[in-house]
């Protein structure tokens, strides 16, 4: 069963984004995603990704390509790439993290979640609300109560910026 896949080199896959754009990538690149890997193992070569938009998919394919060619010598290069990769707006990061979660790319998930966590950890609750587009659903009294109950967490100055 598996012998046919072994003999062929550079097997290609087609990924279709939610905007119906199609991308051709090497199978070896694609299988870093568990979701794609499972489909490939079931014999699929055409992978519709109804939850991943073109913009995110392009970035993610870039990421997969870079990481597929990981060797000892380009370690530094990949690090630079990763750093660039996450150097973007929160909204982009959210798109990417949803896509990475859907595609089950754990190293990317890890990097994105850590980046988001690192970037919000010094923020004020107000800034976090804006960043996550959340409307505060507390009454002022309720909020004051929570602040009081966790007073030690509100000591000091917090970052109000949204980037």
């Amino acid at each position: 069963m598996a012998s046919t896949t072994e003999t062929k080199q550079k097997k290609m896959l087609i990924l279709k984004s939610a905007d119906n754009d199609e991308f051709e990538i090497e199978e070896s690149v694609g299988v870093q995603s568990e979701t794609i890997k499972n489909l490939v193992e079931d014999g699929f070569t055409f992978v519709p990704l109804p939850n991943v938009y073109t913009k995110a998919l392009i970035k993610i394919i870039d990421y997969l390509k870079k990481h597929a060619n990981k060797t000892d010598s380009n370690d530094e290069e990949i690090k630079t790439f990763d750093k660039d990769f996450v150097n973007t707006t929160f909204d982009d990061l959210f798109e990417l993290v949803s896509a990475a979660n859907y595609l089950h790319i754990s190293c990317l998930m890890n990097m994105l979640c850590q980046t988001i966590a690192d970037r919000i950890k010094d923020k004020s609750p107000e800034a976090v609300r804006k960043i996550f587009h959340i409307n505060c659903d507390y009454t002022p009294e309720e909020e004051a109560k929570i602040r009081k109950a966790n007073a030690q967490a509100f000591e000091g100055q917090f970052d109000e910026s949204l980037d």
Binding site: T54, F90, Q114, V128, R129, C136, D137, I146, Q152, F154
Partner: protein, 548 residues
């Protein structure tokens, strides 16, 4: 928006809207659901109804978040469900219980209540024990909710039917599957045409470079992703973010989240529990930080034997009464253990020993069997215990990978000794980097120590004289299981520290771990017990690994 009326509609959709179903379902896939999805994937052809049920059940199984609805409706349509929960919790609870009951009786009809169904489910779990969740579910079967049990039984039933088909007529089954597949594709096509314009519209502002505020990105986030992000935060920001919204508060206070948070920070134990001696008359206490209930959860502990408390308070690893204690989390028993070495006494022929306290039992246990080594020269057998000073204080110990570690000293030689916290009396002796050989005399002093840095075991040495000359060296063991992976990563001339502290000679350097990739050095003077503060050295991830 009309939050409450939204609920029933979505519920209907969940069971009726077949086309959207499998994409919805897949869209829900978090890594922990992966295995189930694989199983489920085979079942898609069994019909959308089952799938709908499973989707609900998978969510229930994957569990815990309190507003069950949050799970069930994590939708592909981008509704603001965070708001929904905030609106009226009681009404939602009612909805949930109605739904739970419906689902319960539905499952009962299909699976049956009898022991046979249970047995099938257990067989399935056992047969798939290679899949991470299965053994856990198997073990906890009795505690699982009936609903969860039934759901697993349903999967077992379906799986069996599938196998049955395969055995009885592979070709026929394959043909059937093909037909269903085609139907599936066809319906996907048609649903695509329906969905496309909707999505296009939604997406346009984003591809235009800026997310529109109506898109409310945070909201179509799956709960699991949010949980993943939050679990990486230290305790204080978490507490602070409780006031972001009611939903966040629910999420952060959730026991499942705490477990995840704890697991995430397992290697960073100083963020987990705090071991403090409150004051002279008070108790030796352990306070939990991991449960986000900073002040409420203080447990008073007995004193170990031969222990005289003094007024002293420090974090994680400290020396009240000049005795070293170390706190560690034993993942096997899910309990915290406190370890205290004792050097014994030559006068009354008391051999070195240690005491260990399991937080759950709350009492100290004295154990007298340090590993021993026979001296090649004299033939004496000596314990390899931590090196004690005159005050029964040891150089720092470290806790990592479920074991307490120290530099054992015997026959003029250091070695790394570890003691597993889970199974008592298991010692291991492993290699350490070649430490610089210093001689202690009146002018030169040295200290060695062991600590944890960014989840890696590390060893350091400090060497100095009264003229403030000397150095500090730090090694890490990059791979815990590989003896050769010791790597020197830092060499500091001690005068660097001394410069900023003028006139104070560096007497002691302790190295602590910290989550932010910092080395914390403690400057102090052991003789007059003065603290000169902590010095932080930041280690960039890049250069850290680079040094290899």
């Amino acid at each position: 928006m009309e939050p409450l009326s939204l609920k029933p509609r979505e519920k209907e959709e969940l069971f009726r809207d077949g086309e959207g179903m499998d994409r919805d379902f897949e869209g829900d896939g978090g890594s922990s659901k992966e295995d189930l999805e694989i199983n489920l994937d085979n079942q898609i052809r069994e019909g959308y109804l089952f799938l709908s049920v499973m989707r609900v059940c998978v969510c229930l199984i994957m569990e815990v978040p309190k507003p069950v609805w949050e799970c069930v409706v994590t939708p592909s349509n981008k509704t603001n469900h965070i708001d929904i929960v905030g609106q009226n919790n009681t009404a939602i609870d009612d909805d949930v219980s109605v739904e739970t009951n419906l689902l319960d009786s539905f499952l009962e009809t299909f699976v049956g209540r009898d022991a046979a169904a249970s047995a099938k489910a257990l067989v399935l779990l056992e047969a798939n024990s290679g899949i991470e969740v299965c053994p856990t579910l198997f073990k906890k079967w009795k505690q699982l909710r009936p609903l969860t049990q039934k759901f697993i039984a349903l999967i077992a039933e379906l799986k069996k039917t599938n196998e049955h088909l395969t055995i009885n007529g592979l070709n026929r089954a394959e043909k059937e599957v093909k037909v269903l597949d085609e139907e599936n594709d066809a319906s996907e096509e048609s649903s695509d045409t329906l969905i496309r314009p909707y999505k296009k519209k939604k997406h346009t502002p984003v591809s235009g470079g800026k997310a529109s505020s109506t898109k409310a990105v945070g909201i179509d986030f799956q709960e699991e992703i949010l949980r993943d992000i939050l679990s990486r935060l230290p305790v204080l920001p978490l507490l602070r973010f409780k006031c972001v919204s009611k939903f966040w508060k629910t999420l952060i206070s959730d026991p499942y989240f705490n477990m995840k948070h704890q697991r995430h920070h397992e290697n960073d134990l100083n963020s987990q529990k705090l071991l403090v001696a409150l004051d002279m008359d008070s108790f030796f206490s352990s306070s939990s930080l991991s449960t986000v209930q900073l002040v409420d959860d203080v447990q008073n502990l007995d004193y170990p034997s031969n222990f005289e408390p003094v007024d002293s308070c420090s974090i994680y690893e400290f020396a009240p009464g000049n005795t070293t204690f170390i706190l560690g989390y034993d993942a096997t028993s899910g309990d915290y253990k406190i370890f205290k070495p004792d050097r014994g006494s030559d006068d009354i022929d008391l051999p070195p020993s240690y005491e260990i306290l399991a937080l759950k039992s709350g009492s100290w246990r004295k154990i007298r069997n340090y590993p021993t080594r026979v001296c090649p020269r004299t033939g004496y057998t000596l314990e390899i215990c931590p090196k004690f000073d005159e005050d029964n204080n040891t150089e720092p110990l470290a806790f990592l990978h479920g074991a307490f570690h120290w530099l054992g000293f015997s026959h003029r030689q250091y070695s790394m000794v570890s003691f597993s916290s889970s199974s008592d009396n298991v010692f291991r002796e492993t290699s350490i980097p070649e430490l610089p050989k210093y001689r202690t005399n009146n002018t030169w002093k040295f200290f060695y120590g062991v600590s944890v840095l960014v989840g890696m075991l590390c060893v350091y040495s400090t060497h100095y004289n009264l003229q403030m000359e000397g150095n500090f060296k730090l090694w890490v063991k990059k791979d815990y299981s590989v003896e050769e992976s010791w790597t020197e990563i830092l060499l500091y001339k001690t005068s660097i520290f001394v410069q900023s502290y003028q006139n104070i000679d560096l007497q002691m350097v302790n190295c602590y771990s910290a989550a932010d990739r910092m080395v914390v050095l403690y400057l102090g003077h052991p003789e007059d017990h003065l603290d000169y503060g902590l010095k932080l050295i930041s280690i960039k991830t890049g250069s850290f690994i680079q040094k290899a």
